[in-house]
Amino acid sequence: MNHISPVIWQFLVKWLTNFALLPPEASKIAPQMDALLFFLVLVSLIGLTIVVLLVVSFSILYNKKRHPVAVQVEGSTLLEAIWTIIPLGLFLVIFVWGALIYFRVFTPPANAMNIYVVGKQWMWKVEHPGGQHEINALHVPTGRAVQLTLISQDVFHSFSIPAFRVKREAIPGRYTTVWFEATTPGTYHLFCTQYCGTNHSQMTGDVVVMSPEEYRKWLASSTSGVSLAQNGERLFASLSCAACHNARPDARGPSLANVYGAKLALASGGTVIADDAYLREAILNPSQHITQGYAPIMPTYQGQISEEGVIALIEYIKNLNSDYRIEQTLNSTEMPPGSEGAAKGGVTPAVKGPVTKGTVKP
């Protein structure tokens, strides 16, 4: 076969020996997804075979040579009913089957470990709760449900791991989630699949699946030494959130201890569950999300905190289960709380950083 270009020949051999229709199945959902995909391929092949058989056999049986005069047939209600009901039935089965998988992919189990992912032109930034940061890579253990909470800091991106059969859009201004449980250690493709500008095709990386022991080793060796929540605590202090959210009886902001997941009554009426999305909105756009009983004095932090910063704050608030922590934060700002409160007696919501203001004014 030397007369075929050797390069093409090599390619062909390589492709045929590794022939695959689907990427490796490396997550728990993958075999379920593939089962439906194979069913769909099967139905398509049967449908296509029926159409081709009809066309070919009629073309042979009733070509002009064999069948010079056409016999007019008006139609058949029975046949119409058959080819309406059978495809409809099949499509409904596919619909239900697909919806089951869809709900599984987008309904994380309660004990899932959460990892934050921020998309930006043109990289993926991954924030582990333990303070590990990754860019264009994601390390996960096998046998453990992992939930990704995604957000974009600019345009739409889409976080796709073909080997896991999961994909989720990262949207500006909104958290989206997806979860998976990896099953097979290895390194898999990570793609951005939503067109996002110049280097869209460079916004790729590796998903590294490790056994639990290896993953523990990796966690220990790649931590920055400061967990995500601790980072959040620092931000909480430097933004002087504790000036108001300090859990004192006269505090101007509600206590944040155990607020995560709680049901809050809003000043505008109605209640809301304090989840990631609510907390993010309450930090960036507070005047729309005032808790009942408090004045709308919180300034907006839009443009002052990065998406990673918001994530760190949320992670801090999530882990906040006593006011004792806030007290500590308060003290760590090196601001006498009394004077702070006094200096801020009648400030308008437009004032941004109480700390700097407080220290400069007196």
Binding site: L40, S44, E80, R174, C192, Y195
Partner: protein
């Protein structure tokens, strides 16, 4: 008469093209540019959409060349992004949307219903000028730097992040949209008001039904696209914030608006093509379309359901799970009428007397490729599998199977079928059959590997890709060169036939439609006497009787 063909041509030694016809009635460029004759406007459209098709095709060629190798080496990423964006914009807004309606529809809707022209002839000319204004503006943006948002203009990329010609391209699409609205409106009015005496709704050819359904989609859907584009322009220039989350806007809202048009738009593109297939299959099997009423109503059903499936483009974008359920279910329902059509066309062949001229070959190609395109649509409408397949080459392959394998095949079937009526001359049969086969092979080689690429997870709109995907991309590029030949051939031999083709006579296919019961090329006013419809559509026995009577009178 040969038993292999139904073609019956007049005696070539004596036959002549009728001296007075719509082409010869007036002369000079102005007589074309200021015409209000629907047939001349159709020819203007045919020339212009062919021009845009080849520009879009050249861009597709560049895409395939770039993807021959895994690295982004032929062009920079930015250039690649502009190339695929312009390919999409030109092919969708300046080829696919106007293709069948504006050319074949414009030419034959009045003729099929026995009218002298469309109801609003001057508006029809205005449509063409709007189309050209939009098209030339789009070409202009290409020469001054292009645009790289993707044809979907996704926000906030298009409003806040790219510095290319979003506004001019948007304006081009906006203007062309009005052309589409006016054409749709014109068709609706014409079909309602100008049918010949005796031509009731259920005697209409199915081509009319499908164009009517598409026209309704054009009139109702296109304004929403116009609104979405205006909002993009306002957001880009004034920063009004409807799509900007930092100002309380919703970036997903744009996609709702865009797909509210752009999903029905794929039915705007495919429905008229389905109409062509009904005409061609019936004619070359000498039989009335099986289940006429079912086929007619399936067009209407597609138009109605087509409006309520748009969010299936957004299954992974964080819309509510219950919205996903509803839109997935409705997407399954919209697949049913397409299946009904395919089976009815297949059964039309039953007990027919089939011949295999070029239009029929293209129609067979359509049926196979559209079946694959339609079934793979179910893969994507099923919410679970959509997660894995969306935004990959699977989408690209599915869309091209429906639009190129379906629509373009139908367009070529129609062009060949009606060529004798439009020009008075036959195209050369053998070479055009070859072109149909070449197109079919080239098409499959180009786009079938893309299904596998998509299943493997290769994302779309990538200038560079992991090396393991190369071999399938090589197949695809190789197929694209064959496909290119398949599309160039018809241009060559059709132009050739304008001068050297056999003289066709009034009704070379012995077809039943009213458009065939007049001279070719037709008179400017189409019919010497307005026909009276006293029979059903596709009544081949009526035609036979008619011809026998004619034969008798001419002998006598």
């Amino acid at each position: 008469m040969s038993t292999h063909t139904i073609v019956s041509l007049p005696d070539q030694s004596t036959a002549r093209i009728p001296k007075d016809n719509y082409i010869t009635r007036e002369n000079g460029l102005l007589s074309w540019l200021l015409t209000s004759d629907h047939k001349r406007i159709a020819i203007l459209y045919l020339i212009s959409i062919t021009f845009f098709f080849f520009i879009g095709g050249a861009l597709a060629g560049l895409i395939r060349l770039e993807l021959l190798t895994p690295q982004a080496d032929l062009m920079a990423s930015d250039t690649y992004n502009k190339v695929f964006t312009m390919h999409g914009v030109i092919m969708i807004f300046f080829f696919l949307v106007p293709s069948v309606p504006a050319t074949l529809g414009n030419f034959f809707i009045p003729m099929m219903i026995g009218a002298k022209d469309l109801a609003l002839p001057k508006v029809n000319l205005l449509s063409w000028y709007l189309y050209m204004a939009g098209g030339l503006l789009a070409l202009y943006t290409m020469t001054v730097g292009g645009v790289d948002t993707g044809w979907t203009f996704t926000t906030p990329l298009s409003t806040h992040y790219v510095n290319t010609n979003v506004l001019t391209t948007g304006l081009a699409v906006f203007i062309a949209g009005f052309s589409s609205i006016l054409t749709g409106l014109n068709f609706i009015v014409t079909i309602h008001k100008m049918r010949a005496p005796g031509l009731t709704w259920f005697r209409l050819p199915l081509f009319i039904w499908s164009n009517y359904a598409a026209s309704i989609l054009m009139v109702l859907g296109t304004p929403v696209l116009a609104i979405a584009i205006v909002l993009i322009a306002l957001e880009r220039t004034l920063g009004i914030g409807v799509f900007d989350p930092t100002k309380g806007g919703d970036p997903l809202l744009f996609q709702h608006l865009f797909w509210f048009y752009s999903h029905p738009a794929v039915y705007i593109m495919i429905l008229p093509g389905m109409g062509v297939i009904s005409e061609v299959i019936s004619n070359f099997s000498r039989k009335r379309v099986f289940g006429y009423t079912a086929v007619a109503f399936s067009s209407v059903a597609i138009a109605v359901f087509g409006f309520f499936v748009w969010a299936h483009h957004m299954f992974i974008m964080g819309i509510s799970n219950y919205a996903v359920l509803v839109f997935s279910l409705l997407s399954m329902l919209v697949a049913v009428p397409s299946a009904i059509k395919i089976f009815n066309w297949s059964l039309t062949l039953y007990k027919g007397s089939i011949t295999f001229e070029t239009p029929m070959l293209y129609a067979f190609g359509f049926m196979g490729l559209f079946t694959i395109g339609g079934m793979t649509g179910v893969f994507l409408g099923s919410s679970g599998t959509d997660i894995h397949l969306t935004e990959t080459y699977f989408i690209v392959a599915h869309f091209h199977f429906v639009m190129v394998g379906g629509m373009l095949m139908a367009f070529l079937a129609g062009i060949h079928f009606w060529w004798p009526k439009m020009t008075g001359r036959m195209y050369p049969e053998k070479i055009s059959q070859l072109a149909a086969v070449v197109t079919f092979i080239g098409f499959n080689l180009t786009f079938f590997p893309q299904f596998i690429l998509g299943m493997l997870g290769m994302p779309r709109r990538y200038a560079a890709y992991p090396p393991e995907f190369q071999i399938l991309n090589v197949f695809s590029t190789a197929g694209a060169t064959i496909l290119g030949v398949g599309y160039l051939l018809p241009v060559l031999y059709l132009v050739w036939s304008l001068r050297y083709g056999a003289i066709a006579g009034d009704n070379p296919w012995q077809a039943t439609g009213l458009e065939w019961q007049t001279q070719s090329p037709p008179l400017t006013e189409n019919f010497a006497v307005i026909p009276i419809m006293d029979h059903e559509a596709y009544d081949y026995e009526w035609l036979e009787k008619q011809q026998k009577e004619k034969g008798v009178t001419s002998v006598g």
